[in-house]
C-alpha cells in the first residue's frame, strides 16, 4: 500500500508513525501488567535492561569507523577510571572528532 506524499498523505503517515511509536512506548509496560512478577521474571527484566545498552553499543562499535571505536574506547576507559559520566562522554566525543580530523 502506497500513500502519495500530498499534504494530507503526509499527515496520515506522520500520525501513523506517532501511533506505532507510542505503541512501543506503552506496549512493554502494558504487557507486563498481566504478568505476575516473580523473582525469576524480575531477574529476567533486570538483566535484559542492562543488556539493551550492550546490544545497542556493540554493533555500533563493529559497524563504526575508527572515530566511533576511539569514542567508545575512550568513554569506557575514562568511565572506569573516573566513574563520572560527563567527563567520560566528553572525552569520547573529543576522541572521535580528533581521530576523524586526522584520518579525514
Amino acid at each position: 500500500m502506497t500513500v502519495e506524499t500530498t499534504p494530507t498523505g503526509i499527515l496520515i503517515i506522520i500520525a501513523l508513525m506517532a501511533v506505532v511509536t507510542l505503541a512501543t512506548r506503552y506496549g512493554g509496560a502494558f504487557v507486563m501488567s498481566f504478568v505476575r512478577i516473580s523473582p525469576r521474571i524480575e531477574s529476567f527484566i533486570n538483566t535484559m535492561a542492562s543488556s539493551v545498552l550492550i546490544a545497542i553499543i556493540v554493533p555500533m562499535a563493529f559497524s563504526g569507523d575508527a572515530g566511533a571505536l576511539a569514542a567508545l574506547a575512550t568513554t569506557a576507559l575514562t568511565m572506569l577510571i573516573m566513574q563520572r559520566p560527563l567527563p567520560a562522554i566528553a572525552a569520547g566525543i573529543l576522541a572521535a572528532a580528533l581521530v576523524r580530523l586526522f584520518t579525514g
Partner: protein, 245 residues
C-alpha cells in the same frame, strides 16, 4: 501503614532537578535534531511537517529512517515496519521499568511513558539497578530531551546549513558514549558480565544475519535469558520496599 496500591512517592522538585541533569546531553540532541531537520527538508518534507513529526514521534533513529524512505509515494507498511523495528527497544525499556511503574496509578504511569526515550530510560534503569526508584527522570529528562529535539528540528529545517557535518565533530557518537557510560556506571556482577557477553554475541549475530533493525531486541532478550536462569543470590541487599508493607 496504609495499603495504597500505588505507593510511589512522586517528587515534583526532582522532576525539575532531572530536567537540569539531562540539560548537557540535550545540547547534543539539538545538533541531532538539526541534522534531522536538514535531512527531512532535503527529502522533500515541508518544515512544518518535519516539525510535526519531531513533536509527535520523538524518536530520532526511526525518523531518520522514515525520511530516508521518502519519495513522491511512500510504501506505508514497510515504512511502519521499519519504524516499529527501530523503536521496538522501547517495549523492553518500558517492561524493564514496570516494577517501578506499577507503583503509579495507570493514568500517571502512561503519562510518564509518553516521554520514554533512550537517555532518560538509561538513567532510570541505572538508578533502579542501584536501588533507587527514579521515574522523575523520565518526565524531567524526557521534557528537556523532547524540547531539544524539537528546537533542533526547527534550527535544521530553517538554518540547516549551519551544521552540515555533525560527524566531523563526533556528535553522532553522543548517544553511544552516553549509553556506554550508563552501562559501565551500573552494578556489575558476574551474572551481568555473562549476560553482556551473551547479549553482545546475539546482537552481533542478529545484526550480521537477521533482517535489519532487530539486533537490539534480539541481543537484549538473549541477555535477559541469562537472568531468567541465573538468579542472583542475596537479593535482599537491594533496598526495594515491598509495596504491600
Amino acid at each position: 501503614m496504609s495499603a495504597t496500591p500505588y505507593p510511589y512517592q512522586w517528587q515534583p522538585a526532582r522532576v525539575r532537578a532531572e530536567f537540569f541533569r539531562l540539560l548537557p546531553i540535550s545540547l547534543f540532541v539539538v545538533a541531532f535534531g538539526a541534522a534531522f531537520g536538514l535531512a527531512a527538508v532535503q527529502e522533500g518534507l515541508e518544515p512544518l511537517q518535519a516539525l510535526l513529526m519531531s513533536v509527535t514521534v520523538f524518536a530520532g533513529a526511526s525518523q531518520f529512517a522514515a525520511v530516508d524512505m521518502w519519495g513522491t509515494e511512500v510504501s506505508l507498511v514497510p515504512l511502519l515496519a521499519v519504524v516499529f523495528a527501530i523503536n521496538s527497544r522501547h517495549l523492553l525499556m518500558g517492561a524493564s521499568l514496570y516494577p517501578v511503574l506499577r507503583e503509579l496509578p495507570p493514568v500517571k504511569r502512561y503519562g510518564v511513558l509518553l516521554l520514554l526515550t533512550d537517555a532518560n530510560w538509561a538513567v532510570a534503569a541505572q538508578d533502579y539497578q542501584n536501588g533507587r526508584k527514579n521515574l522523575e527522570v523520565i518526565v524531567g529528562g524526557g521534557l528537556v530531551l523532547w524540547l531539544a529535539w524539537v528546537i533542533g528540528t526547527i534550527l535544521g529545517v530553517y538554518f540547516g546549513g549551519l551544521l552540515k557535518d555533525p560527524q566531523a565533530l563526533g556528535l553522532d557518537m553522543v548517544l553511544g558514549c552516553f549509553l556506554l557510560a550508563m552501562a559501565l556506571g551500573g552494578k556489575k556482577s558476574p551474572r551481568t558480565l555473562v549476560a553482556w557477553g551473551v547479549a553482545s554475541a546475539a546482537a552481533l549475530a542478529a545484526w550480521r544475519w537477521l533482517p535489519p533493525n532487530i539486533h537490539v531486541v534480539v541481543g537484549a532478550l538473549a541477555g535477559g535469558v541469562v537472568g531468567f536462569f541465573w538468579l542472583e543470590t542475596g537479593r535482599v541487599a537491594k533496598p526495594r520496599p515491598d509495596p504491600e508493607a
